[in-house]
Amino acid sequence: MSDDAFLRVSEVSKWYGDEQVLDGVSFEMDRGDVTVLIGPSGSGKSTMLRCVNRLAEAQEGSITLDGEEVLSPDTDVDELRRDVGMVFQSFNLFAHLTATGNVALGPRRVLGLSEEEARDRAAAQLERVGLADQLDSYPAELSGGQQQRVGIARALAMEPKLMLFDEPTSALDPELIGEVLEVMRALVDEGMTMLVVTHEMSFARAVADEVVFLDDGRVVERGPPEQLFERPEKERTGRFLERIASHD
């Protein structure tokens, strides 16, 4: 990829105490790209994702987003996170707020919209994820799939340049996974730039521009999905894919 990559992760390393969880990870994304990080649990893919919006701090390497260095101590993390939406495995919806309240909080408090503008924006985003009929529902009143869609709407309401998905369907009952993937596919069609950690291989195969296989904190192999899934170059990639496939 070119030098003016939209997101460039280069040689990123991170330790928790003595334990190294990321070891020189590098990859790039262009605007509108969908990159899927796969790998066994503990491989560092979630940590890698969280380094991009600095919910986790990388100790070495460089991450540039739209030309700006993310890891610099001068970076305003709050400003960075305005531009980078995040969807969590366990949804993490604000339990005391309705669906509308969840989505409107960022626009209201971070972007400084008026109460009414924020609610309008929230309603529009909730409609976008198919929840126009649940505006006033509280998280505990929603199914897991609905909660995750509120989580996506909450991130979209900030009009991010990049969306991070941290295993968005891993906490869902199987019958609820489809509705979330459907919303994500629609985002792909709209041209959203997305970095996704997931175990949904069929989703990765269908929408990813590039798949990055991480193991032990290292990039083992990366490439277009058809290549990585059909003709993996590394033996470890093949073994991982076989293991995953046998559980499908």
């Binding site: 919910l55 996170r81 969590f88 509280y138 505990a140 009143e141 929603l142 991130a155």
Partner: protein, 275 residues
């Protein structure tokens, strides 16, 4: 009613039981301890004379009630204003600030309230506070400060526990949309923590209300102390005065606890069947 208060009541009861078993010895013994025992039923609390005495002194008790309510409200308020930030510092702070708050809290919670009040009044010597429309006497300021700071020490633990009970993912999700740490705590964690604080706060409110009576140690006469004054003046009215005062305490605790219950229900986070 017996003449000499609760002690005499207990004595006359046990002596009465003795009298049933050994009728010859009992009257003489009870005469010696309580002269009027033979003619008064200790469980009679309906004597109109004694109730009339209570009613005649309602305004005197009302003055005490005003002090009780004033001390409670001021102390709880001070306790909240100091205790909530203190609890937040214990959860989110670090370094010297956190250690200082923890240490002061341990000292305040470990010191008897009488000692705290005496220190406030006699050692620190809180001055009179002028409010323009009136002034608060040194004893009352010392009472508010002593009760309020001790309540702050307890309230800090209520809020510490409730703040810490909110899942970390909530704060993280707030940060992820670009809220600063303070904003995420303010808009995401605190609203949930305050709801969870209500049961603990109900306890603390009730305790402070009843503990206001300890300001007698620095010469203040609130509801209970004034009741004590009354029944030492008319010693046949001990139970009547105590019952009357207890009823007032009950109404105060019951209504405020119900009000807080209502608050808890009103702002309860709805829970669905699915999750």
């Amino acid at each position: 009613m017996s003449v000499a208060g609760p002690l005499a009541l207990a004595a006359s009861n046990s002596l009465g039981a003795l009298a049933g078993a050994a009728s010859a010895a009992a009257p003489a013994a009870s005469d010696a301890v309580v002269p009027a025992i033979g003619s008064i039923d200790p469980w009679l609390v309906g004597d109109p004379v004694d109730w009339w005495f209570v009613l005649r002194n309602v305004d005197y008790l009302g003055g005490g009630l005003a002090l009780t309510v004033g001390l409670t409200v001021a102390s709880i308020l001070l306790g909240f204003l100091v205790g909530f930030p203190a609890g937040a510092v214990e959860v989110y702070g670090d370094g010297p600030a956190k250690r200082l708050v923890e240490t002061v809290g341990v000292v305040l919670r470990g010191t008897p309230i009488v000692v705290i009040l005496l220190v406030m009044y006699f050692v620190i010597g809180v001055p009179q506070v002028n409010l323009g429309i009136g002034s608060i006497s040194p004893a009352i300021s010392a009472g508010i400060l002593g009760l309020g700071l001790r309540s702050a020490a307890y309230q800090s633990q209520i809020f510490r526990a409730s703040l810490a009970s909110v899942d970390d993912g909530q704060l993280e999700a707030g940060r992820a949309v670009g809220l600063s740490r303070f904003e995420a705590i303010r808009y995401v964690v605190v609203p949930q923590a305050l709801r969870r604080s209500i049961p603990g706060f109900q306890n603390e409110f009730t305790i402070v209300l009843k503990d206001t009576s300890i300001v007698f140690a620095i010469g203040l006469a609130e509801l209970l102390t004034r009741g004590y004054d009354l029944f030492t003046e008319q010693t046949t009215a001990v139970l009547e005065v105590i019952l009357f005062i207890s009823a007032i305490y009950f109404v105060l605790t019951f209504t405020t606890n119900r009000a807080l219950d209502y608050l808890g229900t009103r702002y309860a986070i709805p829970e669905g069947e699915s999750a």
